[in-house]
């Protein structure tokens, strides 16, 4: 169970290898990597800011909730902040379990939650200047589906 909030990039392959190598009860590892993409406005970069202290506290809480809901052997969340250009990695979620179903579901749960409930805010550099990204209703719906279960 690891949480890292950092400005520097991460090596997803090395992180995943570490998880499967250190726990032989792991039978499946699921990972999600969020990447900065160019939107219709063609962004040149995005900057993520967060609430230091509250971010780490909430991430630890949601990771503990995933542990309770699924039989996970291990999990990892790395979320970056600062300025990132298209193609750069923003976030990594890794879940490991004896079987694939728990790993898949917990991974989706964690990233859905991160999109709407973790105190991060994105601003995009566009042709017309810097704009704060607005929250999407579809992301809220994705996160809400987990509370109905």
């Amino acid at each position: 169970m690891t949480i890292r909030v950092q400005s520097q990039d991460f090596d997803a392959g090395a992180e995943i290898a570490k998880i499967s190598a250190t726990n032989t009860n792991v039978g499946g590892v699921c990972s999600f990597i969020g990447v900065v993409r160019e939107s219709a406005d063609t962004i040149s970069a995005m900057t993520l800011e967060h609430y230091p202290g509250m971010t780490e506290k909430l991430l630890a809480k949601i990771e503990a909730e995933a542990q309770e809901r699924w039989p996970l052997e291990d999990s990892l969340i790395i979320h970056r902040y600062g300025r990132m250009e298209p193609g750069e990695q923003i976030v990594l979620v890794v879940t490991a379990s004896a079987h694939r179903k728990a790993a898949f579901e917990a991974c989706e749960f964690l990233i859905d939650w991160l999109k709407t409930k973790a105190p991060f805010w994105k601003s995009e550099e566009t042709a017309e200047g810097t704009k704060w990204v607005e929250a999407k209703a579809s992301d809220d719906q994705a996160a809400d589906k987990w509370s109905e279960k």
Binding site: K115, A118, E134, A135
Partner: protein, 83 residues
């Protein structure tokens, strides 16, 4: 009371963090916002759209009717856009 401002709240109010002495009559988040709005045009602009204000007291998400007091850490920010 320590107040933190994130994203467009910081830009419009032109402050990231401040220590304030609460005037009499401020008991909850609602009355705190009313008072902050009255401080300058920048603050008024930051808090104009109440539907888009999210607030945390002592790093816990709360509703606007939550009580606040001196010594609390209060943070204002828009809906989150992480991931």
């Amino acid at each position: 009371m320590k107040i933190l401002y994130f994203a467009h709240f910081r830009e419009k109010a032109n402050v990231a963090e401040e220590e304030v002495e609460l005037p009499d009559g401020i008991s909850d988040v609602n009355s705190l916002i009313d008072w902050l709005e009255s401080r300058s045009d920048g603050y008024a602009d930051a808090f104009a759209d109440r539907d888009h204000i999210r607030v945390a007291v002592n790093q816990e998400h709360v509703d606007f009717d939550t009580l606040v007091k001196m010594g609390d850490e209060v943070a204002f920010f828009p809906p989150m856009t992480g991931g």
